[in-house]
């Protein structure tokens, strides 16, 4: 399938397209925005919880700072953790899953057993306990830990995909034509798995956002700097939920996170219809 066809199919699914643009917008805002909009760090006691104005579209926080600038600056770390976790766990999952599916036999059984055990352990509590033992004071460590905990389901689905592609007649034909292992893996099998990998990548990104914000909310990650998760925790512990005037402070980060999660999942759903011809319907 060509890129053009993919774009055409994306255009057909309106919700997916909205998701795609929201996602793109949030990423741009988080990575480019900080260079455009400076972080407001001036404490203004007289303007605490000021209502939104044109100059401060989201109003002021508990110390009279502009909430909008905090939102712009608070995305980068959250998204970096999400993307890093996504990349890492997808890589681990892809290699282990593909390897397991390819090699079969006892090694396969063993890897899948490990995956099974991993899958039955509730991930978030394990993460909490680990966070209490390890000091997760930088986003790379956090991403690494999240990735280590989130690869098993992906590995399993990659494996089943490999198993199903592996037995296709065109793989057998490629073997008969002696096209070589490299060709078979990268030209015959991999392109058929791309859709799967991308969708799973998005899922592990959203899972990483859930986990990291959850950890931050419970105060288990001693991170500093601007961060949507920290904003929520801050607003929550300062009791921002109790006053109408302070609602924007807690609602703003909640809404961007929710928006990110929704957009990612909506986009991945439309990708699913693109990569799964069965859902695409007869063309």
């Amino acid at each position: 399938m060509s890129l053009n066809e993919i774009l055409q199919l994306i255009r057909k699914d309106k919700v997916g397209m909205v998701g795609f643009f929201v996602l793109l917008g949030l990423i741009l805002m988080s990575y480019v925005g900080p260079y455009v909009i400076p972080l407001d760090e001036v404490v203004r006691v007289d303007r605490i919880y000021e209502a939104p104005t044109l100059a401060h579209p989201l109003g002021m926080d508990n110390m009279g700072r502009d909430i909008f600038s905090e939102i712009v600056h608070g995305g980068r770390d959250v998204l970096t953790v999400a993307i890093l976790t996504g990349v890492l766990s997808t890589l681990i999952a892809f290699f282990l899953g593909a390897f397991s599916g390819f090699i079969g036999g006892k090694i396969d059984t063993f890897i899948m057993w490990v995956v099974d055990v991993f899958l039955t352990i509730p991930r978030f509590p394990l993460l909490l306990v680990l966070a209490a033992v390890i000091t997760l004071d930088n986003i790379y460590l956090l991403s690494g830990l999240l990735a280590i905990l989130s690869w098993p389901p992906l590995a399993r689905s990659v494996r089943s995909q490999v198993l199903s592609v592996k037995t296709r007649d065109y793989i057998e034909a490629a073997k008969l034509l002696d096209l070589g292992t490299y060709h078979i893996i990268f030209k015959e099998i991999l392109p058929n798995l791309m859709g799967y990998v991308i969708i799973n990548f998005i899922f592990s990104m959203t899972a990483a956002v859930y986990s990291q914000v959850g950890l931050i909310f419970l105060g288990l990650v001693p991170l500093s700097g601007q961060n949507w998760g920290l904003m929520i925790q801050m607003a929550w512990t300062r009791g921002a939920i109790f006053y109408t005037g302070s609602l924007a402070y807690i609602l703003a980060p909640i809404i961007v996170i929710a928006l990110f999660q929704w957009a990612a999942i909506a986009f991945s759903r439309s990708l699913e219809t693109i990569f799964n011809p069965r859902l695409r319907g007869a063309s």
Binding site: V15, D116, V117, T120, I121, P122, R123, F124, P125, L126, L128, V129, L130, A131, A132, V133, I134, T135, T206, V209, Y210, V213, G214, F217, L218, G219, L220, I232, W236, I241, F242, T244, L247, I250, L251, I254, I257, A258, Q261, W262, A264, I265, A266, R269
Partner: protein
């Protein structure tokens, strides 16, 4: 192998049970090594703390730690492990750091039922409602109900459940003041004698209402969408077409031909739901100050109360494993293909 053993080996239930205990065994072992061997492991941390705080020797601090953890820290690691496993097997989890003298097992007995109660009821309600809604919109796809429910489902199922919880708290509790959430802290009404009185039952239900609502809202979307999906797939199956050709009543086809087959794949999701909900309960229960096992876990985390933390983690894991087992059993009851695959 003797015949009766072979028969046992082929028994689906027994094999699942064995697998379950093997997993539990492994998890217990893992937590042991996590606490014992990880860099900066809690025991070392505790020992160093005690040394710097009270100025006692390493030996003394170690002895204190050993008595708290119920571990003989001087014996070889594998002896410690065997010892630990033995204690775990009889439910001896040691004592809490933060409330000295309280056995961890007692805390668990106090907290766990509330989580099981709230999560269990939520899953049940959400599953039933979600399935009906999903099936309904699969039959009426393209209609206005489909648009509304599908959009609702796609939004609620993607927003993290604790954010849903905070939003609920803000709108129902603070803004609209429908639910007096500050009175609703905890799990049971104060001053009401526990028992099967209407007042008490209503009380515990009212206390759980916000967490349950959170669980339901954040999981029902998933059920709706998956059920819509599987229903639509099943509706296209040949046997449904043949059932129509046989002149069967629509209601019979919907329930026995489409419904039963469309629900089957959802059981794997059910398993994941149970894990996710119980696993996510530390956040939800903290938000609503609902004193279940998750609340206890996040409390123990905040106070770095390692024995409690460790035991609760085990407990959560074991409940999830048991829930998986139950879902599997249910699944094998509903799908005749499972059994024959195993005994093949």
């Amino acid at each position: 192998m003797p015949a009766f053993l072979r028969r046992l080996a082929k028994n689906f239930l027994l094999r699942r049970l064995l697998a379950m205990f093997a997993t539990i065994f492994l998890v217990v072992t893992l937590t042991f090594f996590m606490v014992r061997l990880m860099p900066g492991n809690p025991i070392e941390v505790y020992i160093n703390q005690q040394m710097s705080l009270t100025g006692i020797s390493y030996q003394e601090a170690q002895n204190q730690a050993a008595s708290l953890y119920n571990i003989d820290l001087t014996s070889p690691i594998w002896v410690q492990w065997v010892d630990y496993m033995k204690k775990m097997a009889v439910g001896d989890f040691g004592y809490s750091f933060s409330s000295p003298g309280t056995p961890v097992i007692k805390m668990i007995v106090d907290y766990l039922p509330w989580t099981i109660f709230s999560v269990g009821i939520s899953i049940f309600i959400s599953f039933i409602l979600g399935i009906f809604m999903g099936m309904y919109i699969a039959y009426k796809r393209g209609g206005w109900m489909d648009h509304i429910l599908s959009s609702f489902a796609s939004i609620t199922s993607s927003v993290p459940n604790y954010l849903v919880g905070i939003l609920l708290l803000i709108f129902f509790g603070v803004q609209l003041r429908i639910i007096p959430f500050s009175v609703m802290r905890g799990t049971a009404p104060a001053g009401v004698e526990p028992g099967f009185s209407l007042e008490y039952l209503w009380g515990i239900f009212a206390h759980a209402i916000l967490p349950m609502l959170t669980y339901i809202i954040s999981t029902i979307g998933g059920w709706i969408l998956t059920m819509k999906n599987t229903t639509m797939t099943t509706m296209g199956e040949d046997y449904v077409l043949v059932a129509k050709a046989r002149g069967l009543k629509e209601s019979r086809i919907i329930v026995h031909y489409v419904g039963r087959n469309a629900i089957l794949p959802l059981f794997t999701t059910l398993v994941m739901q149970v894990g996710l909900l119980i696993g996510g309960s530390p956040l939800i229960e903290t938000i609503f100050v609902y004193k279940g096992i998750g609340y206890a876990l996040s409390n123990s985390l905040a106070q770095r109360d390692y024995p409690v933390m460790q035991a609760i983690f085990l407990c959560i894991t074991i409940s999830v494993i048991f829930a998986n087992f139950a879902a599997d059993l249910l699944y094998s009851k509903l799908d005749p293909r499972i059994k024959s695959n195993v005994t093949e």
